[in-house]
């Protein structure tokens, strides 16, 4: 016999708790109370402990003179500058090195993945060995090996490894590149007086490039035939700038400054410290292995039939890759690439281990100097979160742009 139970709404405490919505509300309320209590107690403990040490939380110390010296600065800085400015120096170092690392590891990762998927056995296995070695060693270990076992073992500045070594009449030794345990000295163009004329030529070249790009876009709208507009724009920029340079021979806008060996150091040219160079090159090596794997996953995600169909249509291997496989692979590869690029800015914080003054290492120094651990950690977290946020907003936008429009 089946009993039919009436589902009339009953009143009373029991039925009140049997209603799912009420139960959810109660659960959330309990959770809310627990969280609030937890946060409150933590805050109280922290503030009490800090006040006891005479360090009640405040951000005034940011404007005090920092008293630290920083080796590499993009903006002006000396030990009298404020803590806030020291933080800015660190932030700029972090951002500049991250951007360079990302650009170079895209390029290098692309080369690695081309080798990895090559049909040549040796090439593909060399690339595989590279990827596996890099991916299975901690980044910190890699940077330390790179810095201490390679860069610091370079010869001293007097015996530096030099390219295009020249000895002048007065006995000065100069070279276009000097590699020593001090770092890397490179020949570098320095603007001369006539550079202010050349500036206008550069501006003109930029305008021409923009015009070329706009024309190619308009042409694409009209005819539907896609042409490499960006490439053309770039070429026209280089062309105009180059012609300008040739016209100004005799009164060049730049002069090449060669590093000249001094007694204890080299002067002139572009100087890159071993810390900067080992962090940069170590991160490029590390990141490009991951970029290569992400790209390979993308390429392998494209079904084999696509390649065969493209080849059957008479496209060569490279054109089939460029026109058919890579556009599809890009869609698959972008989400993992996003997280790799987000990782780069965070990974620069390991510069602290080899003495590169990035955001985190300067934070550490300021904490040591002032003892303001809580405030500094809050600031640095906020900065990293905004970098991550901006990067992921940009990558999401790009991802949205390239995703297939499903019809």
């Amino acid at each position: 016999m089946i009993e039919h139970t009436e589902t009339k709404p009953k009143l009373g405490v029991r039925s009140f708790f049997q209603d799912e919505r009420t139960r959810n509300l109660v659960w959330q309320f309990v959770f809310f109370i627990v969280i609030v209590l937890l946060v409150f107690m933590t805050m109280r403990n922290v503030i009490e402990a800090l006040t006891e040490r005479g360090m009640a939380p405040s951000f005034k110390f940011l404007s005090f003179s920092s008293g630290i010296t920083i080796g590499e600065t993009i903006i002006e800085f000396d030990s009298r500058s404020s803590n806030l400015r020291a933080l800015m120096v660190g932030l700029l170092n972090t951002i500049s090195i991250s951007v360079l690392v990302i650009l170079f590891s895209i390029l290098f990762g692309f080369v690695v993945v081309l080798c990895r998927i090559s049909s040549n056995w040796i090439v593909s296995h060399v690339a595989k060995a590279y990827i596996e070695i890099i991916r299975n060693i901690p980044l910190l270990m890699l940077l330390l090996v790179w810095y201490r076992a390679f860069f610091l073992q370079m010869p001293g500045i007097r015996n530096a490894i030099m390219f295009h070594k020249k000895v002048s009449e007065s006995g000065d030794i100069s070279a276009s590149m000097m590699l020593s345990n001090r770092g890397l000295h490179l020949v570098w163009p320095i603007p001369r007086d006539s550079f202010h004329i050349y500036r206008f030529i550069l501006l003109g070249a930029l305008l021409v490039a923009i015009a070329v790009y706009i024309v190619s876009r308009l042409d694409y709208r009209k005819t539907g035939r896609k042409k490499p507009g960006l490439l053309w724009a770039f070429l026209s920029f280089v062309g105009v700038a180059g012609v300008g340079l040739i016209c100004m021979i005799g009164n060049e806008p730049f002069s090449l400054q060669y590093p000249v060996l001094g007694k204890f150091n080299a002067r002139g040219g572009l100087y890159v410290s071993s810390e900067w160079f080992s962090l940069f090159s170590g991160l490029v090596l590390y990141t490009s292995a991951f970029v290569a794997e992400a790209l390979r996953a993308g390429i392998q995600g494209v079904s084999k039939g696509q390649m065969e169909a493209a080849r059957a249509l008479g496209l060569g291997h490279l054109r089939a890759l460029r026109l058919v496989v890579i556009p599809q692979a890009k869609i698959v590869a972008i989400p993992p690439l996003t997280s790799i690029f987000l990782g780069v800015a965070k990974n620069t914080s390991l510069g602290v281990a080899i003495g590169f003054p990035d955001l985190f290492s300067i934070t550490g120094t300021i904490i040591n100097q002032t003892g303001r651990a809580l405030e500094m950690i809050l600031i640095v977290m906020a900065i990293y979160l905004s970098i991550s946020g901006l990067t992921s907003i940009f990558m999401n936008w790009y991802n949205h742009k390239v995703q297939l429009v499903e019809r």
């Binding site: 060399v126 060693i137 392998q300 602290v352």
Partner: protein
């Protein structure tokens, strides 16, 4: 075939090249070499270039590295592997290794009937290590490990088929508490098994203990965070999402600094956690957030019909999760978890920055000794090799597991 115009039989012109080609086609080895190394002109150039590069690498880098003076490793091996753990108590660390040998052998026995190549390689390596001039203790335990893993391999068959898997799973779950009690000790100083405080732990031992504990603890925390993030309860969802995203947005080193500098302030004064505990808190916080995202991916892979089927069986929400959804998620998560393990092992290298003496911390301690000042490359290379061997073997194992479980998603074509 006949040439119709002339009425003459078709004769293939035998140029020297075609004879060579025919010879190559017949010989499988030569054919492979031709196809994989000299297929096109570009391929030939690449082959020559990479052989040149490899030769250059061998003579310019690998031979100089091998011919360095490696005595620093021999002198400091104990320090690198276990830090300042008392020498008289080293047998405890060896005991943990023996436990791994026994049940590792048993796990191999569960997986295959013949002794697999990987196990043979490990046994051979252990045999090789015995011949090196180590202490008597090390030799004894190495020999014991060989015996134990072979014994484990065959003993597991003595149990009924249904019991085998259960024994292995329980053994690995019990391993971590066992290792902790074994290494930490439980009697007073004079006793049989004296306590060794965590600040004596170091080297590889410390890294591995922190890594294993962190993965064991961040597994449940990550699961809770993931469930919270998918929960229908708005407030819980928001809190979990913020926690996950904040942790994922900052470098591990900031989380470690929070654990190192802020956590002692936030806790009541009576609790003063050691640096070891603080480092572990930091790593667990960090990896729980990442694990939560792994779980979220796993949960999203479960089709909605599974929930509907469970609901039609009148299972409650909790029961649906525990009985229907999570077992499927766990199975899918195995390869992800294994790669997360290598990630955690690699990340533990950062604890040296907050002053713990893991391998990297030990390396600076060794280098600061004037006797070994010039040997920093050897020390660092050796440690890098240790990390590589551990992480690479784990990732090989993970590929194998992925294949065995048949959950590989890699189907794409090689180009």
């Amino acid at each position: 075939m006949n040439d119709l115009k002339n009425g003459q039989p078709f004769v293939e012109k035998r140029t020297p090249l075609s004879i060579v080609n025919m010879y190559i086609l017949k010989n499988p080895i030569l054919f492979w070499i031709k196809k994989n190394l000299f297929d096109t002109i570009l391929s030939t150039i690449l082959t020559i270039f990479s052989v040149w590069l490899l030769v250059k690498l061998l003579f310019g880098l690998i031979i100089p590295i091998i011919s360095m003076n490696w005595t620093v490793i021999g002198d400091n091996l104990k320090l690198i592997l276990t830090g300042s753990y008392p020498i008289s108590q080293l047998w405890r660390a060896w005991l943990c290794v023996s436990y791994i040998s026994l049940f590792g052998g048993a796990s191999f026995g569960l997986a295959s009937r013949k002794i697999p190549k990987a196990m043979v390689a490990i046994l051979l390596l252990e045999g090789l290590l015995i011949t090196l001039p180590f202490s008597g203790l090390a030799k004894f335990f190495l020999a014991a490990n060989i015996v134990l893993s072979v014994a484990g391999f065959f003993l597991i068959r003595a149990f009924g088929k249904s019991k085998r898997l259960r024994i292995i799973v329980v053994a690995w779950i019990v391993f971590l508490p066992f290792a902790f009690i074994c290494i930490l000790g439980f009697t007073g100083q004079g006793g049989f098994w004296p306590v060794v405080a965590t600040n004596y732990w170091g080297g590889l031992l410390l890294s591995l203990l922190i890594a294993l504990t962190s993965i064991a603890l961040s597994f449940p925390i990550g699961l809770l965070l993931a469930l919270g993030r998918r929960s229908g309860l708005k407030f819980i969802k928001v809190v979990c999402t913020i926690l996950i995203e904040v942790v994922r947005g900052v470098p591990l080193i900031t989380i470690l600094f929070i654990a190192y500098l802020i956590v002692p302030l936030a806790l009541p004064k009576s609790m003063n956690p050691s640096v070891f505990i603080r480092a572990m808190i930091g790593i667990i916080m960090f990896h729980s957030a990442y694990m939560a995202e792994d779980f979220r991916g796993g949960l999203q892979g479960i089709p909605r019909t599974q929930y509907e089927a469970a609901a039609s069986l009148n299972l409650s929400k909790a029961k649906t999760m525990i009985l229907v959804i999570l077992p499927q998620v766990f199975k899918r998560m195995i390869p992800v978890l294994v790669s997360r393990l290598t990630g955690i092992i690699k990340d533990t290298s950062l604890i040296s920055i907050i002053g713990l003496l893991d391998m990297i911390g030990i390396s600076s301690a060794i280098i600061s000794n004037p006797k070994y000042m010039t040997s920093s490359p050897q020390v660092l290379f050796f440690m890098a090799v240790i990390y590589f061997v551990i992480c690479y073997s784990i990732s090989l194992a993970s590929t194998k597991i992925e294949k065995n479980l048949g959950i590989s998603t890699k189907q794409g074509a090689s180009l």
